[in-house]
Symmetry: D2
Subunit: 122 residues, 4 copies
């Protein structure tokens, strides 16, 4: 067992896949919400968020989509907005040994809330 593993021997691989995906999602939201964004910069921001969050432990893939419609609706003369959770649709796939989890962030209308949940898990 390496130095890291001893901190995780009280949970299953499935639980660690969930754990690491959840950390990454919470981190992503609170790192990048507030970032200035408009239609010209949005793709570069999506790619950078994906690259940044993919370096975290157990993270296999991160897919970020920022809602273009919200960017096109901007109705001020400054031509950009601050990124909000409502604009984000994110999938974080984690792998821990033989187990995989897909954590999702998306705005859920019926909850009026950008919800993070486990969309799929082995």
């Amino acid at each position: 067992m390496n130095a890291e593993e001893k901190y995780f021997n009280n949970i299953t691989n499935r639980e660690r896949a969930i754990f690491e995906g959840a950390i990454t999602m919470g981190a992503l939201f609170h790192q990048f919400v507030g970032t200035p964004v408009n239609i010209d910069s949005v793709e570069s921001l999506e790619k950078a968020i994906e690259a940044a969050m993919s370096v975290q432990p157990c993270v296999f893939r991160v897919e970020v989509v920022i809602d273009r419609k919200k960017l096109e609706e901007i109705s001020n003369e400054f031509d950009y907005v601050s990124l909000t959770g409502e604009m984000l649709d994110v999938k974080v796939t984690t792998v821990c040994s033989d187990k995989q989890a897909l954590i999702r962030l998306k705005f859920v209308s019926e909850l009026n809330y950008p919800l993070m949940y486990v969309e799929d898990v082995d």
Copy 2:
């Protein structure tokens, strides 16, 4: 089942306690790292982080300790530093129905890394 619960019926209460604690820990780290802090403002920052992160789903208690020794060692004429993960010792306790989890963030010397892990779980 309420609107929220249907998003979580694929995981156990124990797993949700872990999930929500992990989100809160990732969020806390990435929201507050970078905040200017010194010996005079440190207690107010600890209390505000605890209060802010306690509003998240399933979070029962948040305890934040920022390393005073690091603040006293500041060796520049500006008399403050930016908060880093290395300065943080955090405990997040979550409750999901009959299950409880304690998520911990602390700097682990042998890993040279501010590690997030599940310290205790039912």
Copy 3:
């Protein structure tokens, strides 16, 4: 002249008061936007933001008011929101030698934008 001053000998005291206040305002906005907040945690957050940002160079006073009305209007079952620029009214007072500046952040309806501007300067 100390080590710091030589970096600022190309601008006036009035300009440095404006410069440092503007840094602090930009920093404040992007550090704290996204923080979870509700009616119970709002005062502690205001005080911590004031204490944190007051440690920056030349900053004499920071006053933060978060719009309670927006917090009371929350219409989701999670009972908190992420702090946005629209909810903030902030005054940063800077002093540089004999000059003082008051930098303001407030939501300006006619611009539909949380504007930062110099409200008063010697």
Copy 4:
């Protein structure tokens, strides 16, 4: 005079160039410090920071260099670090009518501090 201009008629164009550059620098620092980064993701992060901060008022160009040497020195098994101010070298060029300012952030060894200052202004 448009709606925005009336908020800035108490300062000169030179002062506004300084003001907007300083906001952008403070914003950049506190938005992105804490972001996970390693040698593979660093270029994408630099480009996204440049694109994001270029949308702010009066900002003409943003150039971001993250210190590769610091990334190569990483000595933990997780193979990434959190971005710190010490790793950043940033130039923000602002234009306000006939005036231009260059705001710089770089780590100054003699101050042991990541200093923001006005490197050049008309």
